[in-house]
Symmetry: C2
Amino acid sequence: MINFTYYAPTKVLFGKDTETETGRLLTEARASKVLVHYGGGSVIRNGLLDRVKTSMEKAGIDYVLLGGVKPNPRLSLVYDGIELSKNEGVDFILAVGGGSVIDSAKAIALGIRNDEDVWDFYEGKRTAKNCAPVGTILTIAAAGSEMSNGSVITKEDGWLKRPYGNNSMRPVFSILNPEITYTLPSYQTSCGAVDMMMHTMERYFTTEEAMEITDGLASAVIKNVMNNASVALKNPKNYEARAELMWTSSIAHNDITGCGGIGDWSTHNIEHELGGMFDIAHGAGLAAVWSSWARYVYKTKPSRFAKFAKDIFNIDDNDEDAAALAGIEAMEEFFHSIDMPSSIGEMNINLTDDQIEELADKGTNGGTDSMGNFRKLYKQDLVEIFRMAR
Amino acid sequence: MINFTYYAPTKVLFGKDTETETGRLLTEARASKVLVHYGGGSVIRNGLLDRVKTSMEKAGIDYVLLGGVKPNPRLSLVYDGIELSKNEGVDFILAVGGGSVIDSAKAIALGIRNDEDVWDFYEGKRTAKNCAPVGTILTIAAAGSEMSNGSVITKEDGWLKRPYGNNSMRPVFSILNPEITYTLPSYQTSCGAVDMMMHTMERYFTTEEAMEITDGLASAVIKNVMNNASVALKNPKNYEARAELMWTSSIAHNDITGCGGIGDWSTHNIEHELGGMFDIAHGAGLAAVWSSWARYVYKTKPSRFAKFAKDIFNIDDNDEDAAALAGIEAMEEFFHSIDMPSSIGEMNINLTDDQIEELADKGTNGGTDSMGNFRKLYKQDLVEIFRMAR
């Protein structure tokens, strides 16, 4: 195992009616003026935004509103949010929504504490020294952004989707009320499940000899998501299943499932290219490419894939290659069981050779960079994986 | 499951040579004058204290030293530390040691930010509003105090051992270098293993329907400790085993193994009475009383004990009582396998009826209070458990 730093300072308030504590937590965080950031109509329709406003008003918290965040959150709205926050003297960003809203909030929070163009951070040109405090009220169990240090933003000019992470971006608090997720469409529940699983699987596939405790926690997380996604799809108002998924989304991405190893993250990076080009749902995109990535790379260390097959699916086979492939196939079957794709074609996208060339080019910065750690992938590797996945 | 708050803000720096980062972390924490708190000679003999001093001096950190912490750390030294810190203008307490040193450091940190007698907090008379920042350099994998909100102090007058917990007491940073634990005597390694397991087991035994993810994480923790304690006892310089134990000690007590339920904590409270009277090692004391507590209370919810037997020992039995009892017995066997007791007599203590009366009296505040949540225990219950355990 390798040395590591673990740092997950977010205070999580979990359970029924916890959104009524918003005002108290903002007071505790010494927020003086809050930008309330959200997406479309669902938080208005289901009354969540009103409950949050009421809690803030009771606590005497001054705020300004900015809605309109879309999936694959856009840089242009981030710029709007930075400008509005600076004009209004905002010192705290409150995200009311899912991962896209939280990621957009983090980008705005970066922007109001740094004079540089915020996109420079996402392009890897600079490191942020500071970030305004962010709080979240989560509405989708998926992205884990409610405890993570990361944010993913899409720049419309060129449709570039890029991640940036910095410990100063970890939310100060996150409010998780599972009841808020009762009304999520099945498709979003499934996409969320894949996203959580992939946050753990990206960390699981390491060439380091991983820590036994980390593998134990990771296996518990993956199996928990699989069990409870199936329950929540059948009965969307099952509190226990929704709660398991919601808390597990945070655990899956607060780094505790990766201590002692170096995660891979190619599946995420490949999906970021697809998501930039086609504006697909992140979770579905991950499911669509994972098994092709896995079949392309497993020979780098078949024993790791065989252990995955054993840990998650109880597959026992002395032939490591056979076990590895059986585990990949079992995961594809699980994805199909929750109506997720295991190929890009299943999302009604027919990738052309030219598009594959463009995606592989963007993913490797014009063929100059590589991605991944389990196996380093260069431009031609990405071309092969996209061909297998289409 | 019940609503919960999860808050574990400690930055953990884990791995080889990490103690050389002490100066950097103190600078990051804006410490201006540090009280370096430690126990006996081991941190001097093995050179750790010198390496820590060197790191602080390189970073230009001013400090003052206070050694002499004993197991079951004493209130009188806490008072000395508070006085010294106030006289020297100390604003940061750095614990170099195990749980006793960290707990003593937390009590001093409370004392320098509150005008009241610090013992009032431990007696439950007051709640602390604030606490000076604490950092730790851990030398024993056991107490979990390096990420927890708690501290246990013993008042010599009356030999009262009392816990106090407050989120402001969670360490700012903790440095965990597994190599430092290579020279731990076997007895301490075993005591540490029991302490970690019990931190998780206290939380596991809840009458709430627990969260599946919490049970999954808890099972991973308990099995990890069992596996790796056995390896470390055979080969004390096995880095992987020492690392697993050290990181698991933090996870076992940073609250993630208890989310959604209400822990019991009777075994800890019973041991605190024994430890106050006999100055025994905490882990051995826990092992000595746990199975008697378990046999006394399991009928409150046999299904929970049956699940424990299944999760930890893979015991399958449709008769819940039989499964519960088999699980308790298997745990006693494990304790014996690492030279831990399963009765008080095995620690060469022959409890008299009068002593049992006194212990039960102290444990229930003169018969007026109860302890425990899985089953509430009153004075006569404690008398019965001590009789079973002696």
